[in-house]
Symmetry: C2
Amino acid sequence: MATRDHPPLANDRLLRALRRQPVDRVPVWIMRQAGRYLPEYRATRARAGSFLNLMRTPELACEVTLQPLARYPLDAAILFSDILTVPDAMGLGLHFVEGEGPRFARPVRTADDVARLAVPDIDRDLRYVTDAVALIRRELAGRVPLIGFSGSPWTLACYMVEGGGSEDFARIKRLALDEPALLARLLAVVTDAVVAYLAAQAAAGAQALMVFDTWGGVLPAAQYRSLSLAPLVRIAAGLKADPASARLPLVFFSKGVHQLEAIAASGCDAVGLDWTHDPVDARRRIGDRVALQGNLDPATLRAGSDAIRRAARECLDAFGPAPGHVFNLGHGITPDIDPGHLGLLIETIHEHSMAQRGPP
Amino acid sequence: MATRDHPPLANDRLLRALRRQPVDRVPVWIMRQAGRYLPEYRATRARAGSFLNLMRTPELACEVTLQPLARYPLDAAILFSDILTVPDAMGLGLHFVEGEGPRFARPVRTADDVARLAVPDIDRDLRYVTDAVALIRRELAGRVPLIGFSGSPWTLACYMVEGGGSEDFARIKRLALDEPALLARLLAVVTDAVVAYLAAQAAAGAQALMVFDTWGGVLPAAQYRSLSLAPLVRIAAGLKADPASARLPLVFFSKGVHQLEAIAASGCDAVGLDWTHDPVDARRRIGDRVALQGNLDPATLRAGSDAIRRAARECLDAFGPAPGHVFNLGHGITPDIDPGHLGLLIETIHEHSMAQRGPP
C-alpha cells in the first residue's frame, strides 16, 4: 500500500486481519503500549514536564509512540494522545490533577453550555494531533501501520458533563433521564466533531481508526443503544462517506457491554472485546461479519512466566486460527507491569499463533 | 406456609414469583432497602455506635431490617447484615475504615494462611446472624417473607486475599494464575462455609436465600466459570440436599457477568440481573427455566418524577407480565437517594404491574 509520499507497508498483518483476510500469524498490538510501564516513556514524560505538553508536542508524541516498537516486534503503532482532545478543543479546558486523572475547567451542565458547543476547527485547534500523525507515519517508514483513535461521543459526554472521572455518572445519567433532548444535542455535536477528527487523522496518515467507548458499559441496555451505539453508527457512516477515511478499517471498542451483535452491525470492521467476553461465544454471536480484537486480561501480565504462556495459548485457542483476529489485551496495560512480561507474552503469541496455523 | 411456630404468610408474592407462579402484581423489594438513604437507619446506626455493632446486635439488625417495611409497601424483608460475616468468623478480623470500606486484619496470602482456614462453627461464631434471622422472622409475623443471604465464595475470596476492596484484584488474580490449587482449596472451604451459613439461616427462619456475587464480573469468562460459577453450583446442590433449605427459592446474582445461560443452569431458582442487561434479551437467552430479579438502574432514582415513572414502566414492559419476575433495582440503592423517590418508584411499579395484567 504505497501512497503519494509514503513507502509501501512492509507489515500489513493488522490491516489484513481487520479485513478478515488470512495472515501468517495473528497481528499483535497492545492498548497503552506507549505508556508508563516503559522506563523510556517515563524518561520522555519527565523531559516533557507534563502529560499535556507530551501529548501536544508532535515530536514528543512521536517519540513515545515509537518506543514500544523499538522494544517489541509489534504489528501496529497507535498514536500517543488522550481521548479528551476533542472536548478540550471545544473550549472545556482539559487539565490533569495528580493522582486523580483528567478534569475539565468548564464542564457542560446547562442548556446554554450545550448551545455554546461547536465542532472545533481541526486544522487549527487539533493541529498538534494531525501533525503528530503525519510525523509518526513518516518516521514509521512503512514498517507497521499507524492506528488513529478517538473517544466515543458517549464517553466524551460523560467527562464533559461530570467534569472528570466519575464512579456513579450521576450528572450525565440524570441529564439523560430528565433532559434527553439536551443530551441528544450534546451528543450530536460531539459526534460530528469525532467524525471530523478521525477523518483528519486519516488524511494526515492514519491507516486504521479506533473508537474507545470506555463508559458504554455503565448504561442500561436500551440507553446504551440510543446514547452510545447510535452515535457510533453515525461515525461509521460519516467515515465511510469521507474520501480520506472511507477505506480505513474501523474498530469499535465498548468496554463492559453485552450487546456484541449490535456493535458488529454498527458499520465498523472490527469489534474490540474486553477480557470478560468468551471469544468462542463472541464469535458464535457475531458470526464472521467483523473481525475481533482482544482480549487477554491485563492482570495476566502480573503472573509468572508459566501462567502468562498458558493464558496466552488459551486465549489464542479460544479465538482459533480463522481469519479476523487481532491479538490485544482486553484493556490497557497497567503501569506496574514488568516490560519483560510483555515481551514474553508477545513471543508466546507469535509462537502459538504460527503453531495453530501449521507449516505453510 | 405456616410452620411450627410461625403464622401463615399473608403476602407470598415473592415466593410465588421466584417459583414462576402467577401473581396479581410483580413483587417488589430493593437491594440495600435497609440503608443509609433512610433517616431512621442513620439514627439507629448512630445509636449503635458502629456498623459492626449494628450488624452484630440482633435487636438492632432486626430494627433496621424492618424500617423500610414501615415506610413502603414492600413484598419482602432482607436480613440486615454484611457479606463478609463468614470470613470474619474464620478469624480474619473484619473492621471498617471510615470512607474506605471493609478491611481484614489478617488477609489470606500464603499456603499456611489457606491451610488454617476452616468452616466456622455457625452456632457459636455466627450466632448473632441466626439470632437476628429468628427475631426478624418473629417480628415480621407473616407479613412478608424474609430473605437470607451470603456473599459468593469468589467474592468472599477476593476480600480475603486482597484484604479489603480492590480496583484491580491484582493479588487474587495472580493467585488464580500462579497457584490455582491453593485458590481452589480456599474456595472449597469458603463454599462449605457458605452452604452451612445459608442452611443455618434457613433453619432459623429465612424463607428465601440469595447469594451476592459482587465480583464475578471482574473475571475472564473461563475463570468466571471455574472460580465463581462452579462454587455457586456446589452451593445450590448443597442447599437442595439440606432439609432446612431444600425447599427455599435460591437467587444467584453475579454482577457484570455475560453468561446468564450458565447461571440459569447452576441449580438456582432465580437469576438477579444488573441494570446493564436487556430483560428481553435475558429472557430469550434463559427461557423460563428460572425467575428473573431486577433490574432498574439505581441512578434512575436521582431523576425527576416523570423520568422515574417512565423508566419504571419501561423496565416492567421489558420484562412483561409473564410469571417469574421479581422487581428490584439492578444494584443497591445509594445513600444519596431521596426516600420519596423510592416511594414513587414502588407506587408506579404497583400501578403499572396491575395494568399490565388487566382486570382480574
